[in-house]
Amino acid sequence: MSKTVPIVEQILSANDQIALQNRSQLDASGIFTINLMASPGAGKTSLIMATIQALQNEHRIAYIDGDIASSIDADKVATLGVPTVQINTGGACHLDAVMLQRSLPQLPLTKLDLLVVENVGNLICPSSFRLGAHRNVLIASVPEGDDKPYKYPVMYHGVDVLVLNKMDVLDAFDFNLDYFQRGVEILNPGLIFYHISCKTGEGLAGWLEWVRAEVAAFKKGGGDGYEIR
């Protein structure tokens, strides 16, 4: 005689539960945390370095990088004098909440205002694994093409800020800004956009203002009201 047992439980809730724990820890430590995602080569590390160079006298910043192998990115960022942690996933194509949880003790958590987590370069998997951050930032770049929001809808959904990098080479590519922007806005009403070039510095001021404003708002209001990213 069989019977039905109701469950109604989210799959991958184990990762989500650890993401929640990470968030509690980050909130308690007063550390505003950004999860930065992009295809390989879009400019994640470049943007992070420009951000740290501009803001490190105003805020205490730390950096965690996820890559399958090497410490190339953490080594670069470490030259700026901020605490860094390099996660080598060994094969996993995304960071998850467990990996972040293991990294946090390596940072001086009582002495930080801002943590930037650079996810593994990948336009598919990171969006499925919450880390416990406050904001998701996606970096797209002009050479990738303007149709990516339409081809990768899952990744382009749940984004708080979209940074379009490499604007300095816009003329060399057939990139329709309106088509691109509409594709992302469809999935993220109210999305914040920045058009930048890490190389020339174009547009960076707007991005930096956003970071400053977010850190200030978080300091004032705490961690409630932010999705678990």
């Binding site: 469950i7 439980e9 799959i11 009403p189």
Partner: protein, 111 residues
Amino acid sequence: MHELPISQDILSIALRHAGEAKRIIRLNLVIGDLSSIVGDSIQFYWDIISKGTLAEGSTLHFERIKARFRCSDCENEFEPVDRNFECQKCGGYKVELVAGREFRLESIEVE
């Protein structure tokens, strides 16, 4: 993708709720069309990892939820066709996802 850890998660949730049951016969999953989960891949791993557990020989049943959007401009709700996400009533593109990213174990049947 990642259907192996997903299958493992399903198994662990099911076993946790099986209680005094001798066998899990069927698992009822709800999967949204935009959840990027592939049912065939879960089934493939499931048959392997459920061996030797209460869930050995059980069947997976997938209830699929179609993607559904609501237009912020005109409040129209619609099911997108062919990944065309613009509002079918007013053509606006400020749309919110109302359904389609679900992924949960709804219930299990045991004996």
